[in-house]
Amino acid sequence: MEYLSSDKVAVIDLASGEVSEDELSEDLVAQRIGGAGVTAALYEQHKDGDPIVLGAGLLTGTLTPASSLAVMTAKSPLTGTVVHAPLTQYMGQELKYSGFDYIVIRGAAPEPSFLWIHDGIADMEPAGDLWGKDVWSAVQAVRQQMGDELIQVLGAGPAAEKGSNLAQVMVNQWASGDRFGLGKLMAAKNVKLIAVRGMGLLEIAEDDDFVTRCLEILGQVKSGAWAGRQGQGDLGAALGFDDYAAWLEPLVHRSHSSFNTPFAYNTFLFLDDDPSLLEESAQSEPGVLLGDPAAAGVLRAMGLAAADAAAVIKACAKAGLDAVAAAKVCQAQGKTAAAEIQAALEGIDGTVVGLSGPFSDWAPQGLASDAASWKRRMAVAYIFGIDPIFALMAPEISEEGLVELAALGTGLEITQDSLDAVVADLCG
């Protein structure tokens, strides 16, 4: 695979510690395109090893607007079905430039381990001293160990180590779009962290035309409905959360974007410092990043003040818990006071209701016109590597445009028919 690719698939056998590498077949890409299209195929190929398959979308890490997405594909311990969890912020581009297009993680390690994926090398390292650490401490420790603050990390927290169904795979210190308990799966494989860093290079088949088309699409996006808006407040308002922005506002520090994503929906809330502060905070952990409105929305509906809700979300992030699921479990147990909820998080477990794969509902269904449209849009986003929340917000990022970019970028015959076939397969 010559273009938009490192042409490598890593296969890591956790039991033996052996790493093998396969070339990424152009036939596979022409047929399955990328992202979840390929991770699903690799899952099937390696399913005897109960694999976790990581991969970026075909267009992830390029100048395609909102090309931030990586995907984790695995059998969910909660549903027993193959699911795809969205991984955004800077994880997608880091994986794309890591020297591997896809990483297949088979079996289970005999001892706590972490995977270190860097510049075309996949190493398995002991994680005895990381096991038991909260997510934030573990991320900091691995960055210090490797001497690089820009390492992107997928992590399993203490909740996962205890086998909680509510354990989420975390992206650095923050919640991901995993609603399927994949943190629990990671820990069951004795994988504490997957650390990724890369300074690779992606050749482009028709580079001038590709970039020109990207700029055209960006121009349309900048003139679109979401121009000039940002943050969880605007996102919540669009979803009909009354006064959500006002409820959050006293804590809002800044909002920023996932990689190359025009709408800055990641809002950082300050709990332990003045949110109006512009200089670097003297506090080491002044707050928490909010990447979607679901958890805060549930906690707000339970009557919590914004600061208390944010504190719960922060505690969940450290423990590696799906804050939405944790909040709902507490709600079902009649725990609605902030102190009760905080106390309940230690050792929390429960049944996560309402899950239906294969795509996480982290990208709100309320942004789509109907369930079928939402599902198709998720499939398209997960294949090409488009931020799923922004994919719902921006019809300007059309299937036609993405197919055209795929063909221009790879030089392969990727058509709407190709896409329809992969979407049909993923959506079932």
Partner: protein, 119 residues
């Protein structure tokens, strides 16, 4: 007309960093870019942008824009963004305003929030 960055508008999306890398390498890459998003203080939500010019370093911090002469003794100027594996800032090529592009600097064009301008 030098490149300047409005730190209040910047959302740290890295589009500028990728665009500059593309301009230099005719491929998608980040290592050659002369504009870099500073994101080593993630847990504090302290993000900014560094731009290397021929004789100056443009530092767009949240608290404001600062322009420093390259060669002054300053720990931050030499730090390169707090990461071991990326190329230190001072070893990168200086901004050439995409002089070979008819449309001008690509970073301006790709910024989704118009945080980059020429002054």
């Amino acid at each position: 007309m030098a490149i300047r960055i409005d730190p209040e508008k910047c959302t740290a999306c890295m589009a500028c960093e990728l665009a500059c890398g593309y301009h230099r390498d005719d491929a998608f890459a980040l290592i050659s870019s002369c504009v870099v998003v500073y994101r080593a203080r993630e847990s504090k939500d302290y993000l900014g942008v560094l731009l290397k010019e021929e004789e100056e370093l443009v530092i767009a911090r949240p608290e404001g824009l600062e322009i420093k002469r390259i060669g002054a003794t300053d720990e931050e100027q030499s730090s390169g963004g707090g990461d071991a594996s990326a190329k230190p800032m001072l070893l990168r090529e200086a901004c050439d305003l995409c002089e070979d592009r008819e449309e001008g600097p690509l970073c301006l064009q790709v910024c989704p929030v118009d945080a980059i301008y020429q002054d």
